[in-house]
């Protein structure tokens, strides 16, 4: 009894507060966005904007234009996407929606006014009138617990959205590296083709002089045509990659000025020693999964505490009978826990909690594996790219030089030298691929450990060996 009474007195003050706040409780989208930005923290160093009003929108547009005016670096591409991606703006709205849900959870259900008029056939008496005001009491009692659940939900949404930002940054990096790599590759494929075409044109001269057969000419032409087909394929690849980047940046492909080469590999990779621990600490999906567990716990507690009390209603009613006397008095409605004692709700909440806990453990195991895999991929990608830069490309250049020396002494013909040149250029194509794979692997690793900065950042020079 004591408990009930104290709950009632507490509830009374809550009602007063709620009523006073109720009218002005509207959602502030910007503050919800700032909460999300705080959650994101150092995972993304660049500026995030909420283009919620015309002023912010116009300001951001001018920033976008400034970024587009210059050659786009990897970091600038990320910043551009953060400014300009409408997908991200749409995602930010989720934080506002969750905030609205959170506020709604703090509000009481509105009281119900009940009016009854029963006219009589007896002219001597007036109509029978009845007024009632009913309020769900349980709603008031459950409010703090409900708010805790809603808070957990809200935080989870913040995590989700922040994780989406981290993911978007990784996608921008991938798309940028893909596009620059493809354009660089196209330029090199064109060089390969130039060598093949030069070889064929030479062969035509040899054929005209009567010095090589139709077969040899056809073979040279075939190589030249193959290389032209390679140029077509590389052109398509470059267009697709540029288009994919432009789509993420929400600009037209023509608006983007991309460098001709990928950034060179940094001298060393700044890779933190304990990647797995770092990932478990920084990953927002893990944080979100933890919040889901926390919310599940709150929900289970709520469902358990109030399992028997499905509904408690308190109402006041006033009635005027035929005698025109008013009768006034309170009434209480309680759903008796005879058939449903809240068991299914508790069972459901417990199962949901169990599910959330195991999903968290599963995610942690998968994240560890993902981080190990991404780390190995990144270190291997560096080794491959370095091998090309330090050993294979110089070797191919040496081979061309040494073959040219043989050509100078009439020990081999020019076709052999051009083949070596083509092979050198093809090796350069593989090198570009290796550099591209390196940056993709670094982006993947950064994403795998939750967006923590693992890159020393691209150096100013291009990937030219």
């Amino acid at each position: 009894m004591h408990t009930i009474r104290s709950r009632f007195s507490h509830t009374a003050s809550t009602i007063a507060l709620t009523l006073s706040l109720g009218a002005c409780a509207s959602v502030n989208q910007d503050s919800a966005f700032q909460d999300m930005r705080a959650t994101l923290g150092e995972r993304v160093n660049q500026e995030l904007v909420w283009r919620g009003d015309a002023a912010a929108d116009a300001e951001t547009t001018s920033k976008v234009d400034a970024l587009l005016a210059k050659e786009l670096t990897l970091d600038a591409a990320v910043q551009l996407a953060l400014f300009n991606s409408r997908a991200l703006q749409a995602r930010y709205a989720d934080v506002g929606i969750a905030k609205a849900d959170l506020i709604a959870a703090g509000l009481l259900s509105n009281p119900v006014l009940d009016v009854m008029i029963r006219p009589t056939t007896n002219p001597s008496t007036g109509a029978n009138l009845e007024f009632g005001l009913a309020q769900s009491i349980l709603d008031i009692f459950k409010r703090p617990a409900r708010q805790r659940v809603a808070q957990a939900e809200f935080e989870r949404t913040q995590n989700d959205v922040a994780a989406a930002v981290v993911g978007a940054v990784a996608h921008v990096r991938e798309a940028y590296v893909g596009a620059v790599g493809a354009l660089n590759g196209l330029a090199v494929v064109k060089e390969v083709s130039t060598a093949a075409v030069a070889s064929y044109e030479l062969a035509q001269q040899f054929h005209k002089a009567g010095n090589i057969s139709d077969l040899q000419l056809a073979e040279e032409q075939s190589m030249a045509e193959d290389s032209a087909a390679m140029v077509d394929a590389a052109t398509l690849q470059a267009a697709e990659a540029t288009e994919a980047l432009a789509a993420i940046l929400n600009v037209s492909p023509e608006a983007v000025k991309l460098p001709s080469q990928l950034p060179a590999l940094p001298e060393q990779d700044a890779t933190p020693s304990n990647l797995e621990t770092l990932a478990l600490d920084k990953r927002l999906d893990i944080a979100a999964a933890r919040k889901t567990v926390a919310a599940g716990l709150e929900n289970l507690k709520l469902k358990t505490d109030w399992r028997l009390w499905q509904e408690i209603g308190l109402s006041f009613s006033a009635e005027r009978d035929g005698d025109k006397q008013w009768a006034i008095g309170p009434s209480l409605e309680i759903a008796l826990p005879l058939f449903n004692q809240g068991g299914p709700d508790v069972t459901r909440a417990a199962a949901e909690l169990f599910k959330a806990e195991n999903e968290l453990k599963d995610l942690q195991a998968r994240v560890r594996s993902e981080v190990r895999s991404a780390g190995f991929k990144a270190s291997t990608a560096r080794r491959i790219a370095e091998r090309y830069r330090k050993t294979i490309l110089p070797l191919k250049q040496d081979i061309v030089r040494l073959k040219q020396e043989k050509y100078n002494y009439m020990l081999i013909g020019v076709f052999d030298v051009l083949v070596a040149k083509r092979e050198e250029t093809t090796a350069y194509l593989s090198y570009i691929d290796a550099v591209r794979n390196y940056w993709l692997a670094r982006a993947e690793l950064a994403n795998a450990i939750g967006g923590a900065p693992v890159d020393t950042g691209p150096t100013a020079t291009g990937a030219q060996p």
């Binding site: 090589i212 020396e405 009439m410 020990l411 081999i412 013909g413 040149k421």
Partner: protein, 438 residues
């Protein structure tokens, strides 16, 4: 250094080369002294251009020689050296020279890392002295010294070479000449007696060791293991009787052609032929494993002497080149040069330009240009088995020094009749004094 001085330098240096290598037995190898044109023994000592003669010691009436088989570094011409195998620090090994009836003992020390033997090619001797490892004798193991001892029962131009792992040991330079003079002095003594041993080498461009597995695609063709322009010139005086003895231990036949003379084939490994068998020729094929002696009377001039297989007078060359003759590369050449900086189109009008190209365009390491040599009128465009026989009116007897280029008497050089600076078509009365202007 001008070419004549260079050749003089090389011939002098090769004479002293063995002394520089510094082994006592080897240090005594010498060319015949210039004065010894007629020895008291009744023969003119043979001269091995770019080579030496092996000295001997008389021991109880036996001429004792000493050959040391070993790995050496050999220079084919300035710009190309290789690890070869030879005798007494050189390839070909020193020429052994003796007289019919001599008893000779030849000590052979093996400083190689595998066994060896020496076969005395064409010499009549006891079967056990014939040098076929496994057949006539045990192999001479590394570090061992064997003695071959026999009496010379013939005269003629002979050779020596290993008969153990013969393909390899011969392929990397182990060979030499063995000259036996007749006991009865020849009725017509020669004034100068030269010997040249021919060989082929698979020293692939850019490598430092001959490849013994090659059978046909050789890179270098040598007279006494030298290629032109490092081949020592042969020198004689006008009117002198000159003999050149050729031996062939290569894997091709070599038609040796001497310019400006008719020569007589006077002998072979079968010895000096009866005069009735002598033939007059200007080219004589010296077959694989054969020797030939040619004799002629010197006519003043600079006379080319070379193998007439034209590829054998080239240094390293490609055999799978696309044929560039008549191929107009003027436009496309510029495109190619963009891809290959330093590229130069060549061969449209012939390959003569190549000798000039190689003077400023780098080739593979340790590789000689295909065409080399300069004469008084320009590039010789030769290599390999090519040398010059220089015959002069004013040469002292027994002087083997390079006399420089021949000074053609006025009116005896081919002259230009049209083209820039040409002299009008001649009539019998025209003074040709300016014709050798060039």
């Amino acid at each position: 250094m001008n070419p004549s001085r260079r050749n003089f330098f090389w011939s002098s240096l090769t004479g002293f080369g063995s002394a520089l290598i510094g082994r006592a037995a080897v240090a005594q190898d010498t060319q015949p002294a210039p004065a010894a044109s007629r020895a008291s023994d009744g023969y003119v000592p043979v001269r091995t251009p770019n080579g030496v003669t092996l000295p001997y010691e008389m021991k109880d009436g036996v001429k004792e020689f000493h050959l040391i088989a070993e790995e050496i570094e050999h220079e084919f011409a300035p710009g190309t050296k290789a690890k070869c195998w030879g005798y007494n620090g050189r390839t070909p090994g020193p020429t052994i020279e003796a007289i019919e009836g001599d008893r000779v003992r030849i000590l052979v020390t093996n400083k190689l890392k595998e066994h060896t033997t020496i076969h005395w090619h064409g010499i009549l001797l006891p079967s056990g002295m014939d040098g076929v490892g496994g057949l006539n004798q045990p192999h001479i193991q590394p570090g061992e010294t064997y003695a071959y001892e026999f009496t010379l029962r013939q005269h003629g131009t002979h050779m020596y070479h290993p008969h153990a792992d013969e393909m390899v040991q011969l392929g990397v330079g182990m060979m030499g000449m063995f000259i036996i003079h007749p006991r009865q002095p020849e009725a017509k003594l020669v004034d100068r007696d030269y010997c040249i041993l021919m060989h082929n080498w698979a020293l692939h461009p850019g490598t430092y060791r001959p490849d013994p597995s090659v059978m046909q695609d050789f890179d270098l063709w040598t007279f006494n293991s030298k290629v032109f322009p490092a081949t020592e010139h042969l020198v004689a005086k006008t009117g002198e009787r000159i003999r050149i003895r050729f031996g062939n231990l290569s894997m091709w036949n070599h038609p040796i052609h001497l310019h400006g003379h008719r020569f007589l084939i006077t002998g072979s490994d079968g010895g000096r032929w009866p005069e009735a068998q002598w033939r007059s020729e200007v080219t004589e094929i010296v077959g694989v494993g054969q020797t030939r002696d040619i004799e002629f009377t010197g006519i003043a001039g600079d006379w080319a002497m070379h193998c007439h297989m034209s590829h054998h007078t080239m240094n390293a060359m490609g055999h799978d080149l696309p044929n560039t003759l008549g191929v107009d590369q003027s436009e496309i050449g510029m495109k190619v040069a963009k891809l290959l900086p330093g590229y130069m189109s060549m061969g449209e009008n012939g390959m003569a330009e190549h000798q000039d190209h190689t003077m400023h365009m780098g080739g593979p390491k340790n590789t000689l240009p295909m065409m080399m040599g300069q004469g008084p009128f320009g590039n010789l465009e030769m290599g390999g088995m090519f040398t010059v026989v220089k015959i002069r009116d004013d040469l002292a007897t027994g002087d083997y020094n390079d006399p420089g280029w021949y000074k053609n008497p006025e009116g005896t050089v081919a002259y230009k009749v049209s083209g820039p600076g040409g002299t009008p078509a001649p009539s019998p009365m025209v003074d040709h004094s300016q014709h050798n202007r060039h």
